[in-house]
């Protein structure tokens, strides 16, 4: 009975965390999958979102306000970063280096301002329900629900309005897009801003459930980058599926191994999957 409840607990945790992970990946999916810009700083945007949530909640007293403000601020930060790096954004190597510079700068700033010691934020919804003898926070369920709603809105925006069409058009044929009257630089700015805002929102949503450190960005970046590629660039629901699979596998492995070993095993599994799968789907649709 003990084992069954542990496994069920791992499953539930995997699914809720997986949906959050999917939200983080969705931002990268817009920036990398649709616009084709490699953005190593995505994890740092997420990190900044988490710090902003902590800062706004402790200073202004409202987590829900933070949830509203963090994506706005991080989105503007994204637009600024894209503006600065515009000259090199079509060159994969240079944009990896440039956005990595942004990563170091953001991470360094967080370290300078708030120090390396982890910050903690208590959950805005305190109640827990009892699950197999352990308490499970309602907040995780709420966070997953907010993520899911955001993902549905994003899907609607990208698949049911002409915004998504424009995103695809500028990457596939910039010249034709100009001819068709699309303002290409503006699309890149807004797309990048949208992606960054999604990272900021997910950072804020996650903030009450993790310890907030300057270093939280790069590791999550590796995970979401894996998810976006494994799911197929630009495919939101595939990425959601992969995010859930990733964290469920990780959650289940955690019930048998220590967390580090579980993470190692999950990474290896995804890597093997990625390498064995030939001809990764790059077509969109």
């Amino acid at each position: 009975m003990e084992l069954v409840s542990q496994i069920l607990f791992g499953l539930l945790n995997g699914v809720t965390w997986g949906i959050l992970l999917a939200l983080i990946s969705s931002g990268l999916n817009v920036i990398f999958g649709l616009l084709g810009i490699v953005n190593v700083a995505h994890g740092s945007f997420y990190m900044v979102g988490a710090y902003l949530a902590w800062l706004i909640t402790t200073q202004l007293g409202s987590f829900w306000l933070a949830l509203f403000l963090a994506p706005l601020i991080v989105g503007m930060l994204g637009i600024l970063a894209e503006f600065i790096l515009k000259p090199v954004e079509q060159n994969h190597t240079l944009s990896v280096l440039g956005t990595f510079g942004v990563t170091l700068a953001l991470q360094g700033s967080a370290l300078t301002i708030w120090g390396g010691a982890p910050k903690r934020l208590s959950a805005p919804v305190g109640w827990k329900f009892s699950l197999f003898g352990t308490g499970y926070s309602y907040y995780r369920i709420i966070a997953a629900a907010i993520s899911l709603i955001t993902l549905i809105c994003l899907w609607f925006l990208l698949e049911r309005t002409d915004v998504g069409l424009k995103f695809r058009a500028v990457q596939e044929d910039p010249e034709l897009s100009v001819a068709a009257g699309i303002r290409v630089p503006l699309v890149y700015s807004l797309g990048f801003g949208l992606g960054a805002a999604l990272a900021g929102l997910s950072g804020a949503l996650v903030a009450p459930t993790v310890s907030i450190t300057p270093e939280m960005g790069l590791r999550i970046f590796a995970i979401v980058f894996l998810i976006v590629i494994a799911g197929g660039l630009g495919r939101i629901w595939n990425a959601v599926l992969f995010a859930i699979v990733f964290s469920v596998v990780r959650g289940l492995l955690t019930t048998f191994f220590n967390p580090t070993a579980a993470l190692i095993a999950t990474f290896v599994l995804v890597l093997v999957f990625l390498l064995l799968r030939k001809n990764l789907p790059t077509s969109r649709g």
């Binding site: 510079g101 700068a105 991470q107 360094g108 590796a222 980058f225 190692i264 990474f267 890597l271 390498l275």
Partner: protein, 317 residues
């Protein structure tokens, strides 16, 4: 004398002067500066390993910390098991090369941004594995390298000689026919393939050589500090190698050393008071380099000097 060979001679003279003056520097420096200079040479060798893979073969790899950490631990166990320094270093180089072959063989299967990702995930994985296996690595607490006490100057000349050796070997490699293929792959991999080269093979080879050099740097760093820990595998070492190389000038032998020296100097100037802003500064520096000076310091100097000599040539003729 033609312009090309004149420039070549100028370069040779400049390099010899630079190398010699670094060699006599310890006579005029305090103990602390000698230690710092020793570290700079190790970091230069480490960045050079990245430069071979990135600056000469065109692969933006984030995996150098894997080889650095592995080299440090191989050397530590070599010393613990009393193989002696020379044999341990041979083991370090071979181990690094073998690891490079394996990592390279995995990484070259994917292209572009995915390549960067695979090497980054590799670096993170190695760090996690090192943290998780305390029985082998000592985890965060690390292991002591059982060394007899050596003089600081003695150690400097050991590292100096080693840096010189690695620099010359790398120079010979990039000037060799194999090095030409590396540079062709950097220019246009598909085109090199159409000219009949098995480019994946050459890319793996570049990884193996870079792995050996990075492992040696890791081994020597452990040997110098007398201590190794799982943090030797941390991805930030890869990041350092990237920044030093891009700052100094990728695709040159001197570049990584220049970059390592400059940033170490900046870090020391900032000292403990301003040390916290160092990472911010490095990040902004990288953004600025990417936007304005992708050739780095050495590339910039080269452009200035060639413009100067062209002008002089035109005036004379």
């Amino acid at each position: 004398m033609s312009g090309g060979s004149k420039r070549y001679l100028m370069k040779a003279v400049a390099s010899s002067v630079a190398v010699t003056s670094i060699g006599v520097l310890p006579l005029f420096l305090g103990r602390f500066q000698v230690v710092l200079l020793t570290e700079v040479i190790i970091w230069g060798v480490f960045a050079l390993s990245f430069n071979l893979i990135y600056g000469y073969t065109g692969m933006l790899s984030f995996g150098q910390s894997m080889f650095f950490g592995a080299g440090a631990y191989i050397l530590t166990y070599g010393i613990i098991w009393e193989f002696g320094l020379p044999l341990s270093l041979v083991m370090v180089a071979l181990g690094g090369a073998l690891l490079g072959l394996i990592v390279g063989a995995v990484a070259v299967r994917v292209r572009g941004a995915k390549f960067f990702l695979v090497t980054l995930v590799g670096a993170i994985l190695f760090h996690l594995i090192a943290l998780d296996n305390r029985w082998l690595t000592g985890g965060d607490d690390g292991l002591l390298v059982p060394l007899q006490f050596r003089g600081i100057t003695e150690n400097f000349y050991l590292i100096y000689g080693f840096g010189l050796f690695v620099g010359l070997v790398t120079f010979a490699i990039v000037k060799s026919p194999v090095g030409l293929v590396f540079r062709m792959i950097k220019g246009d991999r598909e085109r090199a393939e159409l000219l009949g080269y098995w480019t994946d093979g050459y890319r793996i080879l570049s990884f193996a050589i870079g792995g050996a050099i990075a492992a040696l740097a890791g081994g020597l760093y452990g040997y110098t500090t007398g201590f190794v820990s799982a943090d030797f595998f941390h991805w930030s070492y890869s990041a350092d190698a990237v920044v030093w190389t891009v700052l100094g000038g990728s695709g040159t032998i001197a570049g990584p050393f220049v970059g390592a020296a400059l940033l170490t100097f900046i870090r020391e100037v900032l000292s403990s008071t301003w040390g916290v802003v160092y990472p911010v500064l490095v990040g902004l520096l990288l953004v600025g380099l990417v936007l304005g000076f992708p050739d780095g310091v050495v590339g910039l100097l080269g452009r200035i000097s060639s413009r100067y000599s062209d002008k002089k040539g035109a005036d004379g003729g």
